[in-house]
Each structure stands twice: as C-alpha cells, then as structure tokens.
C-alpha cells in the first residue's frame, strides 16, 4: 500500500517534470508552423468551408458549430443552458425542454457530440450530445440547428460515458460515471461496495423521426464508466466501455482508485441483450425521468414523466457482458474504421493496449477466462490483445483514425498528438500541441469512412496563444493538416467553454437539407396569427393573449391598452416573413425572463407580468430593415381596479375581425395546391 503511494507520487512528479520541460523547449511558432500554413486555413470571402465541426461547449452546456479549415465560429446552438439571445428555455414553447426529475435544470455540462449514422457513415440528420451533471441526452435537428428533444437517463450520476452511437443509429449507449445507490436511498457512503451500482443504458433512436426512448439498462458492478464506442462492420452489435475505480474506492480516489495495475474494459453484446429483452429477462422497476420533445408543427415542447425502466442483469443473461483488463485509469476507448481494432488507453500507463475483435471473439468462444466478477467473465488480457503500443507518450487520452490505416492519439501530459500505424503498432510522427490536448477529431474519424484531411486537437490549456483576457483564457483548438506523411500545424482558434469532443462532417451532407424558413401555412401553433388580419388581443380571465405579427418593418398591433396590474400577458409573436435570414426579435420593457428571436414563419411566446401602471415600450431586437428602429409599440398598464377597456390597433385601426381568421382558415383548407 505504502510503496504504491510512493510510486504514484514519483510518477506524478515525473509527469510534472515532463510538462515543465516540454513547456520550455522548442515551443515557438517559428519552429512548428511552415510558410504556407495561413493559406491552407484561408477561406476567401464568398466561399464556404469544407467541413462543419460541432464542438460540445463543456460547462457552457451548449454546442458550437465551426467551419473547417477556417476555424470560424458559425453558430452557437443552445442545448442544456437557457439562452437569452433567442429566448430558448425562457419562451413558453421551450421552457419544458429543461424539465427533469430534479425539477427545472437550466444548465449542464455538455460533453460528447455524436452525429447520426447510416451504414457506419454520418448521414447529417441529427446531432446528439450528453448533459453530464443532470444525466440526459439531447437531440439537435440539423435542418434547423435547434434542440428538439431531451431525454433524461434515470438512476445514474455524471453521465460522462455518453451518448455513443451504433452504426445505423439503432442506439445511443451510455454508462454512469459515478455509481450510486439504486434506487436512491439514505445509506452510509462507506457502504459503497455493497450498495452502489452502475448502469449501462441503451437509448433507441427512431429511424424516421429520430425520437429517443430508453430501451433498457444493464446493471453493472459499482465502477466508474468513462467512455464507450460501438463496434462497426464485423464488430457491429457490440459495445466497448472503459471503466476505472474497479477498486470501488469512495474517498481520495486519486490514490485509492489507482491501486490495481489494470482496470477493466466492459464488452457488451447488445444484440444478445435485445434477445434477452424479448424473452422477458428484463425486470421493470419504478423510477422517474423526463422526456421532452418538440412538436414539429407547433414548435412547442411537450414534457412527459416516464415512471418505469427495464433492467437486464448480466447474471440472468449469460453471454451478454464480458470484461477484459485495460491499462490503469483508462479514458479513451476507440474502434478503428474496420471494426477490428479497439484502442484502450490508460491515463496512468505509458503503454496503450490495442485489442483485436477477432481474438476477443475467439477467447469468448473457447472460454479463455481468468475468473469472473458477479458472473461477468473476465477474458484473459493477452488472449484479446492485438498488441501493445509501448511508451508512445505520456497520458494517452483519445484516438481517431484517418481511414488510411493510421491512428492519432492525444497525449495530455506530454502535450502532443502522435500518429501511429494500427496494424504494425509503429509510431510514425508526433507534433506538439499548446497545451494538454483532450479529445481530437478528424472529419468522420469515428466512422467507417474517415475523411483524413484535417485533425483538430482540443486543448485544455492555452497559455501564450491569444491576447490575455484576465485570469482565464479561451481554450484553444488546433488544426493540423494530416493529408501528408507528417502532420502540419495550420491554425489555432479559441473555443467556447471547454469542448470535450467534436465531430466533423462534410458541409455537403448538411447544406442541402438546411431549412430556410418555416412555412407559415404549416405553422400549427395554436396561438399563431397567420396574417396581420389575425393580429388581436384577447382576455381569458386574468390572462391576456396578444396575437402579434412581425414583418419588415412593423409589429401589429403596436398599441395595446386595457392591461391591468394583476394580469399575466402572453405575447405570441408570429414572424410573417417567408424569406431566410430574416428573424424578428421581440423585447418588452420590464421583461424579467428574456427576449425572443422568432424565425421566419414561426410563433414564439413571451410571458410578461406588468410591474407598475404606466406605458411601456416594446420593439424588435434584430435589425431587419431601414425602418427597423420604427418597429416598435407601446403597452399601457392600468391599476387592477380600473375599467380601461381592452383596445389594440395599428395605425389607429382596431383589427377586430375575429371571424376573418376563421374565414381565412376555411379558405386555405379548400385551396387546391398547385
């Protein structure tokens, strides 16, 4: 025990020394950037980037889309954090996206981007990303770049190991980072070994709509599940998950969870799990989690509580789960494009283990096991091994592939990316990064068909890269050209939050499907005003509903009277534009939530509580035309007991034609589409 601790301390000191040394030596721009680098990243005005890189926003809770090779930020997509820029999470339609079994949770820590796949290739339809803290998985629709669904995962903690996708988007696989008592109960933390359990979760994805559903969970020993990948090609049907803390320590993990020389890689046969599920081997258990789904026609989020989950136990399901030892404190777990090689990296090991799927299958076939854990067989380490990549660097984290037989691994401690040959396990090249890279991404690098032209390393530390901005610096992403034999640093650019992973896809797979506006004819929002003739104000008891339209360059109605102090006012803004890139904003004085940004053809609602009698201005926040400043109006608030009649108008005309709406709708229904 004691010698172990001393060894560890020495190891850390060594590692620190390595960081320090590399920091001081040969880290100047001149030595690493070659003359034409800028030209390679330059995308001239009027031209598009070749790739979209979607980066998770880490503690910002969001996702950002960057162009590659330019490194330009194209868009921030709000996912797990409320977003005042457009009212996401504040508008009445999107509030429910934040419902969880813990109540409304308006933030998270987003980690891993997974693009949907068909036949092991990106299909450009959806993007999935996990919320680490309040375990959940979100789906972003890539035709609109909007978050359209969030599914909570019950009875797990720190959903770090998520949401890894199978090659036809059958499932999103996830595992709990922290094991917890299941079901939750008030027990001593030192009863960890007997009471704490880990779950591996399979969320199915509807092939047409993309809707997610928690299909089943597998109850596992109380370890920490860290990262996962699914097999592809020949290994399709299997999942691989790294675990650490097989010691089941519960305090001072940095020492106590590093006692064993090796941790474990979990190997799950999910096709077998499906069979067991069908045979009724699953046990249903009461629980609570939320499923929040946006209705496409109304763009309103509906939130449902789900109260049951199905659990499969490996003891009842032989042949479903296996373990194999993996180097100490593993992080990355990556499958090469052929599906044959699985790379397991130990943060605290200088070596990397590369497993062979064929050998793993042969070992399972011949029951080449070294015992079991709770009925889960442990495959003999050597039997499943393709080979060991010896001392390629310090602190290997993640690996991606270029489709030409090469792998690229980030080394957190020695701050570099190392290129190596998957088959021969030869190191081919190494390039410094600035500094401490975590994940890296190659467009399609986790699929069967990588486009090995660029590599982006996502660094955890940024010293000396940008203008200093106080105690904190933006994190840096570094773009390497990997089309040649040697990697070439081309560009670095700052990122939002701390991106934990990215996936990059050919722009050509997304651009043709991008929605340019919402068809006003198809707007199914129950409070939409589909035409200025439908603009009106209606009182429903204490609620006042303002059906407002926006078009360049006015809001209708623009004068509203008859609101009283006790009222709750709902501004339903319909943007009548059918032209892309013309959203209209809506802001009202005294709004305590946010503003709105309403896309062409869409309806969004802002709730507003009058705060004192008077006349208050509202206006459009998105500069839309030469007369944008004129796009405004007033709402008058009277005391609660006053008898000011409800009145609204535009240009002093009351737009009271209530039956005009019905007429228009009838006429539209009759209309023959040509």
């Amino acid at each position: 025990m004691k010698t172990n601790t001393i060894f560890l301390t020495l190891f850390f000191l060594l590692v620190l020394g390595a960081v320090f040394l590399t920091d001081c030596s040969q880290r100047t721009t001149q030595t690493i950037v070659e003359g034409d680098a800028a030209q390679q990243a330059y995308v001239p005005p009027g031209e598009y980037d070749e790739f979209y890189a979607f980066m998770s926003g880490g503690f910002s809770g969001q996702v950002t889309a960057y162009g590659l090779p330019s490194g330009r930020l194209l868009k921030e997509i709000p996912v797990f954090s409320k977003y005042p820029e457009n009212g996401y999470g504040y508008s009445e339609e999107t509030k429910a996206m934040f419902n969880t079994s813990y109540g409304e949770v308006p933030w998270d820590d987003s980690h891993h981007i997974e693009l949907s796949q068909t036949d092991g290739e990106f299909d450009g339809r959806w993007l999935f990303v996990n919320g680490n803290n309040t375990p959940r998985i979100a789906r972003v629709d890539l035709t609109t770049f909007e978050t359209v669904e969030i599914l909570e995962i019950p009875d797990v903690a720190g959903l770090h190991c998520a949401p890894f996708i199978t090659e036809n988007s059958e499932y999103l696989v996830s595992g709990t980072r922290f094991s917890v008592p299941i079901p939750q109960e008030d027990v001593g933390i030192d009863t960890y070994q007997e009471n704490f359990k880990g779950l591996i979760n399979y969320v199915s994805v509807d092939p047409e709509e993309g809707h997610m559903e928690l299909a089943f969970q597998i109850e596992m020993p109380g370890y920490n599940y860290d990262l996962a990948r699914n097999g592809k090609g020949k290994s399709h049907g299997w999942s691989f998950l790294t675990t650490y803390n097989s010691e089941q320590a519960h305090t001072l993990l940095e020492v106590n969870a590093s006692q064993k020389d090796k941790d474990l890689l979990a190997i799950v046969n999910w096709k077998k799990a499906e069979e067991y599920l069908e045979q009724g081997k699953g046990q249903t258990r009461e629980t609570s989690f939320y499923h929040n789904l946006m209705d496409e026609s109304t763009s309103i989020v509906n939130s449902t509580e789900v109260t049951e989950t199905t659990i499969l136990n490996p003891q009842d399901c032989p042949g479903m789960v296996y373990f194999i030892p993996v180097p100490k404190s593993p992080h990355g777990c990556d499958v090469d494009p052929t599906g044959e090689f699985i790379v397991g990296n130990g943060k605290l090991s200088a070596d990397m283990s590369i497993y062979s799927f064929d050998k793993l299958m042969a070992a399972i076939e011949s029951e080449d096991f070294a015992g079991d854990i709770n009925g889960i067989p442990i495959i003999n380490y050597e039997s499943g091994l393709h080979g060991i990549l010896q001392k390629p660097g310090l602190g290997p984290l993640h690996t991606e592939f270029d489709g030409k037989g090469n792998a690229y691994t980030t080394f957190f401690i020695s701050s570099e990316v190392v290129k190596w040959d998957v088959e021969s396990l030869e190191v081919l090249d190494r390039q410094s990064t600035f500094y401490s890279p975590g994940h890296l991404v190659i467009p399609g690098g986790e699929t069967r068909k990588p486009e090995g032209k660029y590599l982006v390393a996502m660094n955890k530390i940024t010293k000396d890269r940008y203008l200093p901005t106080g105690p904190e610096l933006a994190h840096s992403a570094q773009l390497f050209d990997i089309s040649g034999e040697k990697m070439k640093l081309v560009l670095d650019f700052p990122t939002k939050g701390e991106p934990h992973y990215a996936q990059a896809i050919s722009a050509g797979k997304i651009v043709p499907n991008v929605k340019k506006f919402y068809r006003i004819e198809d707007n199914g929002h129950p409070r939409a005003a589909k035409g200025e003739g439908q603009a009106r104000v209606e009182r429903e008891g204490k609620e006042v509903h303002v059906y407002m339209t926006a078009i360049r360059s006015h809001l209708a109605p623009d004068n509203i009277e008859g609101i009283k102090m006790d009222d709750e006012v709902y501004f339903h803004i319909t943007n009548l534009e059918q032209d892309w890139d013309v959203p209209h904003g809506f802001a009202v004085q005294g709004a305590t939530n946010a503003e709105l940004l309403v896309m062409p053809g869409q309806t969004r609602t802002l709730k507003w509580k009058p705060f004192k009698p008077g006349v208050f201005a509202f206006y459009c926040t998105d500069f839309c035309s030469a007369l944008h400043q004129e796009m405004s109006g007033y709402v008058r608030v009277s005391p609660a007991n006053s008898d000011v009649p409800l009145k609204w108008g535009l240009n002093n005309e009351n737009t009271t034609a209530t039956n005009m709406r019905e007429q228009a709708e009838q006429q539209l229904a009759q209309r023959v589409d040509d």
Binding site: R519, I520, E532, G533, Q578, D579, A626
Partner: protein, 166 residues
C-alpha cells in the same frame, strides 16, 4: 391610370435628384453608378419565370378565394386593398398599371426584380423597405393576381388596363 404612372415616375425622379444632388459623395452612391451605366431596358413583363399569362373573363372564383387567403396571410401586413401606401404600395388599380407577368414575377422573383427591374427599383426607392420573398409559388401568385383583378373591379372599377402594355 396613366396619370398615376406619371405621378409615380415623377416621384421617383424627384427622389433621385434629391439623392444625387444632396450627397457630397455623389460619385460613390449606387444611384450615381447606375446612372453611369447603360440604363437597362425595362421589360413590362418584368424578370422571371412568368412569360405569358392568359387572363380570362369572367374571373375565376376559386382562384379569388385562394388569393384572398394568401393575401391575408402573407401580404396584408404591408399592402392595403385601397390606394393607400403603408409599407408597400396599395393594391387598388395595380392591374391597370402593371402587366400580369410583371406582377407575378415581382411576387415570385422579388430579389432579382429588386436588383434588376427598373420599375421594381423605383418602388424600392419610394418605400425604402425591400419587399420580402414570401415563398409564394407561381400557382399561388396566379391566384393573388386573380384576387387583385377582383379588387380592381371593386375599388377603381377597371381591371387589366395594363395587360397588353409594351
């Protein structure tokens, strides 16, 4: 309606003069550049996919119904049925001023019309708000035209007076 046309033309003329004369950097203004170039020949049919429209009498009732619904949803925010200009010009008498092809091209190909058609450009100079592309199909634009013809009968008592304009 001839007078109206002249009045409209006169208005934009005044606008151009005041724009060109008032600015110190006249040579850099888009209006000035346009003047230097060969003035484009105005096609009374406008620019776009619509080359020939057959107008029938009596008016087609089902098209009027559709046209009215589209007007209310996509056009009424900026165009009144009278001759009052709000954000865009009022519609009363429009078929007496513009060829049916021009009207339909303006609706369905507005960005190109605003960039290249002299009549559309004149209107932009008057209204100062670009007419939005409202995603109207050619079929729906035809229905709108029928609704405009009906509106012209009701508001100014005459329709299609510009139908054969050269």
């Amino acid at each position: 309606m001839k007078q109206l046309l002249i009045a409209l033309g006169g208005l934009s003329f005044v606008f151009l003069i005041s724009c060109g004369g008032g600015g110190e950097t006249a040579s850099q203004s888009p209006a000035a550049t346009a003047q230097e170039a060969e003035p484009p020949k105005a096609d009374p049919k406008g620019i776009g996919e619509v080359k020939e429209v057959n107008l029938t009498d009596p008016l087609e009732e089902s098209m009027i119904t559709t046209g009215k619904a589209i007007y209310e949803m996509k056009c009424s925010a900026c165009h009144k049925l009278t001759d009052q200009r709000v954000v865009g010009p009022g519609w009363a008498g429009v078929t007496n001023k513009r060829r049916p092809e021009w009207i339909m091209n303006m609706i369905t190909n507005v960005d190109v019309m605003l960039a290249e058609d002299p009549q559309a450009q004149k209107l932009l100079e008057e209204c100062l708000t670009r007419m939005p592309n409202q995603g109207v199909s050619i079929g729906d634009a035809r229905a709108l035209l029928e609704f405009m013809r009906k509106n012209d009968v009701e508001t100014v008592g005459e329709k299609d007076q510009a139908a054969n304009q050269i």
